[in-house]
Amino acid sequence: MKQLRILLISDSFILREGVKTLLSLLERPYKMEECESPTFNFNRLLTKLKPNVVIAKPDMLLPYTVLPRKNDENGQIYYVGLTDDHTPTKLKSRYDFLLPIGEDKTTLLQLLESMLSSTGYLNEKPESNTLSERELTILKYIALGNTNNEIAERLFISTHTVMTHRKNITRKLGIKTVSGLTVYAILNKLIKVEELQVIKQENK
């Protein structure tokens, strides 16, 4: 999934802050650059940020007769217009989506979410966090104090693969340290306290 990169263009401070608040309420990852000047260099920003979504107050893009449709990575750029009752229809037609700023919070959120989803750049809600069989096995070895190399040898896989599994385990469980993983393994009966003690003694 490609990262959502947003370019926000408006000379109104309140409007920019409002859009940012809405975006943060969506609770999805994104990168954003904002721009307040009416005389900004649109093309430079496009090259720099490579946005895939541009959210703008319609009059801001007036000087540009043609709106670029592809960013530098050859990805599609979608345009969201922040409109109100006074926005001329002619201006509105240049935009892929319209966000009427007079709407209430719930509507705004729904609109924004559905338009961003249809661009395909909005990350799906996080995947399930249950560990796979393989990950459980590897977690067990980690908890028992084995190094990446040792695990790789035992399971006949590359160290690189072990590291990838490790990253996924840490991400899924939200536990970063080895000792944390060990506690998790004990609490979930993957290993027994006695097994650990045996190892501790061997190490001595």
Partner: protein, 245 residues
């Protein structure tokens, strides 16, 4: 909102009560009446700017204490940092340890699981102690010696400390964060501990862990963002001095 000198001290606490242990470290006790932050500082003979910087870095984790760094002496800063260390070792850590210990004694059938938590915490404590020791034995004395050297008030051991070729760079590079393990412990209790009973006691342990983590975070921030630049500046000054000689 940033904390400034004209706010009433009482309102500061209403705004963010997590600042209480921080102001205690400055020796400030409750009962400030209607005194402003500035007045409280006067009453206690504290450096107002320093006090505000510390409060603000704690209050707002994104606050970056850029301005006026050079106004603070290393001595002032290190006094504060050491008091914070003391607070961890003498209050926070024993408090959490006690709570877990009592839980172990009271809840017989989960005792084995709780013991695992306790082992983890003790391990953590030891790591924290050695982190703190290395700062208090190496880093802080070095910074203080530098400062005395520059102000011409050298102590007997200062030359020895300064002759060791230590540099704050080294500290900056491997100053590790002591919070990740704490984060794991929290997460284990929140997400994975299989005991629904005694929830309220787990809550209070968790609460303590959150507070400690937050405090440590801020402490590390101050070390990285205030102490390191101050010492770097002194190192430069000393190098320039010895170039002239």
């Amino acid at each position: 909102m940033h904390i400034h000198k004209d706010l009433k001290m009482a309102d500061v606490i209403h705004l963010n009560h997590h600042l209480l242990p921080v102001i205690n470290r400055f020796g400030i006790q409750l009962g400030f009446g209607d005194n402003s932050v500035e007045e409280v500082c006067q009453n206690y003979g504290l450096n107002l700017d320093f006090f505000l910087e510390i409060l603000n870095t704690f209050h707002d984790p994104t606050y970056f204490p850029l301005a006026n760094l050079q106004k603070f002496s290393a001595k002032m800063l290190i006094d504060y940092l050491q008091k914070t260390h003391q607070y961890y070792l003498e209050e926070k850590i024993p408090e959490i340890e006690n709570r877990i210990q009592h839980l172990i004694e009271d809840v017989a059938f989960e005792a084995q699981h709780l013991q695992v938590l306790m082992d983890f915490f003790i391990n953590y404590k030891n790591e924290l102690i050695s982190h703190i020791n290395s700062e208090e034995e190496r880093v802080y004395p070095y910074a203080l010696a530098l400062e005395r050297k520059l102000s011409g008030k050298v102590h007997i051991d200062d030359e020895l400390i300064l002759s060791r070729n230590y540099s704050i760079r080294l500290y900056e590079e491997d100053h590790d964060d002591v919070e990740s393990k704490l984060f794991d412990l929290k997460n284990i209790i929140i997400k994975y501990f299989p005991s629904p009973i005694e929830s309220s006691r787990f809550n209070s342990i968790l609460h303590e862990l959150f507070e400690l983590e937050n405090d440590l975070n801020n402490h590390g921030h101050i070390e990285d963002l205030i102490l390191v630049p101050i010492v770097e500046k002194m190192e430069k000054e000393l190098a320039e001095l010895s170039d002239k000689v």
